[in-house]
Every structure is written in structure tokens, then in C-alpha cells.
Subunit: 127 residues, 4 copies
Amino acid sequence: MIQINERSLLPLYEQIVQQMKELIAKGVLQEGDKIPSVRELSAQLLVNPNTVAKSFQELERQGIIVTHRGKGTFVAKRAAAPGMERERIEQLQAELRHVVVEARHLGISREQFSAWTEEEWRRFGGE
Amino acid sequence: MIQINERSLLPLYEQIVQQMKELIAKGVLQEGDKIPSVRELSAQLLVNPNTVAKSFQELERQGIIVTHRGKGTFVAKRAAAPGMERERIEQLQAELRHVVVEARHLGISREQFSAWTEEEWRRFGGE
Amino acid sequence: MIQINERSLLPLYEQIVQQMKELIAKGVLQEGDKIPSVRELSAQLLVNPNTVAKSFQELERQGIIVTHRGKGTFVAKRAAAPGMERERIEQLQAELRHVVVEARHLGISREQFSAWTEEEWRRFGGE
Amino acid sequence: MIQINERSLLPLYEQIVQQMKELIAKGVLQEGDKIPSVRELSAQLLVNPNTVAKSFQELERQGIIVTHRGKGTFVAKRAAAPGMERERIEQLQAELRHVVVEARHLGISREQFSAWTEEEWRRFGGE
DNA sequence: GTGGTCTAGACCACT
DNA sequence: GTGGTCTAGACCACC
């Protein structure tokens, strides 16, 4: 389910984090679902177990998943994030700004950009 | 004109590259305009000259600026490097996807997201 | 300045985190001070560099220190923690409760406990 | 009477140990009282019997409870294991120090901290 | 020189 | 079996 791109600038563990979040946003993984174990995933992705473990720890820190000692790792119930949201929202806006600037630079039209946005938005959880 | 954030995850030279591009996107810097020298900028930003030089190399690689030996560095004509556009567009779409996924995880509504996009789009030169 | 106890139940990286915080609370390390590098500390403590690095990343996550690429790691300016404080304060109260329960179990008197508290409080930053 | 928190960092068996001690400190369980069996407790807490058994072993090791083969498990007389007290007191002081350091990092005032301590102290049996 | 990432492989605590 | 910790040693980006 997850594709690792060795040539990407993103660290492997970040790729896993992002794609895990995509799977959850898409609904492929739902609240309470069990996630493949560190060892399973590392074998499947041909990546070191430590790297997968790091991803899981980061996802847990973000309140996306929870781990139960000896049992495994599961998709968390929503609304875990307490108060630090504002900070993350600001970061998100900064990233959005960056994307817009890049788009204008590449000569993307407003319409094209909106179409892409709509497509991605539909892709992750309809609405 | 450029703001350096020491605490950002982005490398200093990347911050300079991005903000340079923003300045051009906004029209503050126009085709053919002369850009401050490496020494000037490094003094102004309190950043190592090597770092500024690296930014300029990157901008030149992307076809955003051109340097004329002994004369200085200038904003390039909207030629843009030929074949690598497709690659950069794909990267842009990947970034857009990432931003959308993050937004959904933070519980942002479709309307809110569109509003932000519009705001950013307007911000960089009305079109 | 830091003492590692191999026999402790606490992970090595946690011991480093805690003692670092103690040094800062005591004022031995002050805002803006440079912290020994990962390699220095790991050599000094006879601990793997990765372990020290993990401590630093945890301290940075808590807003206690900041790292500047290629320059080193420094004690952060206060007031970094944004909104997640409430959560941490609740955790602190839980720990305090635990300590009190343990104390009563060991037959410590109220006076003895207060004396210890006062001593520790004086130890870290007077007032 | 005992609340299990699956998401806590503490092992399940440690949570049981601590809360058992709290119940005794509060006087809910008194010297000589019979304690529910491993099976009863495990059914009630929805926890593996092995886990409960481990808690009981730990409590017995600390001299808090005693088991009489075929009769059941009981709250011990306040004998407490002889030599290991010093060790536990030292550990307690280390924990207290840690709590104080955390409090200072969170900007808690001396008065606030004292108030909390008093509250907790009162909470577990007025003395 | 600095910290960040990754691999390989080991041991431990918990279920 | 699960995740968490630690070591050893490598490579990389940044300054």
C-alpha cells in the first residue's frame, strides 16, 4: 500500500509518515484499525525496522496512531490533538503559500490549479 | 526584502531561493532587473556568503536568474529551462497533495481551504 | 556535568534529557548558551552518538533547546511552548500525586516531605 | 476501584501496582483485608491474567501484600521489607527532584506547587 | 566541524 | 509476537 521512493529528497521515514496519513485521510485505514507491525512493514518496504519504527513514533506524537504494548499499533480516534493545532495550521498555510508561488512561477493558470485542488480534495474523503 | 528564519526546517539557502521567487512572482523584481551581489545580500541577511552563493547557483540552475561575469546577476527572461518543467510540475502536484492531506487531518473544511488558496493567489499579483 | 546510570530503569536518552533540563533549571546552562556537540557528549558519557542525538531531538521537541544546522545546539529562549502546556501540567500533577502516594507508603512525615521539596526547589534557581 | 489507562506510558502491571498502593494509602484497603483474586481482577479490568499476576508478584516483593496458598491474597501488616527502604527512599527523592525540575520548566510558582502538594497530601487520608 | 538519516543487528519489556 | 532501546558505523546536507 505504501510506495517508497529511494531517490526522493524526503527522508524515508517522512515518506512513510505522509503516506500513512494519506491512507487514513482516504479512509483505507479507519479509526481503530490495526496497522501492520514494524517488522511486517519493514520487510514489505525493504526498509530497516528502525526506520519504520521512527515513522510510527512520529505518527503517534502527532496523535494519528496509538500503540499498545505488545499488542500492536492502531489508528487513533480523532480529536486527539489538544491545543497545539494553531501552530500546525500556520505551518500548513505557509506550505500552501509556497505551493501557490511555485505554481505561478511555472505559469499554471488559476483554473488549472483549482482543478488540481478539487481532484486531490475529492481523492481524500469525498465530502 | 528577504526574511531569514533560523528556526525553520528549510535550509537557509532554500529560504532565500523561495523568497527570491516570491519577489519575482509578486513583480517586485522584474525581468532584467539587477539583483544585489552575494556580498551585499550576505551582509544584509547576516548569513554566510557561501550560503547566498549557493542560493544563486540554485536559482540560476532553475533558469530564474542569469549572471554576467563582471556585470552582476539579473532576473532572467521568462525562458525557463526546457525539459525539466514536467518534473517540477509533478513535484508541485505532490506538494499540493500533501497540503490537502494535512488540511484534512487538521479538520479544515473545503471552503476554508479554498478561501486560503484564493487569498494567496491574489496576494501574488492579481491576474 | 552529566552522570549516566547504566543500571537505572530510565532509558539512557531520558536520563540525558532530564539532567539537561536540571542543568538549565539550575542556571548552569543559560539561554543562548552553546551545548556540547553530539559527538563530544557521546565521547564524554561513553554513550553512542545516536543516543545523545535522540536526547537532543527530544529536548528540541519540548522547546528547551534549538539546533542550527552546521553550527550546533543552543539553549532556547523561554516561552517557546505554545498551547500544549495544559497537557503537560496535567501530567506533572499526576507525577506529583504518585510521589506523594509513595511517600505516605514509606511512612514519610508531612514535615519531612516539605523539607525535601524546599531543598529541591532551592537547588533549582533559588527564588 | 482500579482504572486502567491503555494509553499511558506506564506498563499495565505498574498501573495496577500503583493504584493498589493508593487504595491502601487511602485506607480503602486495610491491613489484613482480602484482595480480589487474579482471575476476578483480570475479568473486571479486562486485562490478561498474566498481567494481574505480575502486579501481585511485584506487590508481594515490596512487602505490600502476602499470599497464603489456597486462601487468597491479603494486605500485609506494615512490616515492609527491611533493608530496601533506603533504596526506595532515594528513588523517591530522585522522582521528587524530577517533578520539581519539570515544574520550573513549565513556569510553575513555588506557591502553586506547594498548594498542589498540600492538596494531594490531604487527598490520601487526612493525618 | 555540526546535526540528521539510515542500516544492521542485538537485547528487553509487555502481551 | 509486539514496539522500545541501544550500539556500531556509514553517508549526507549544511555552515
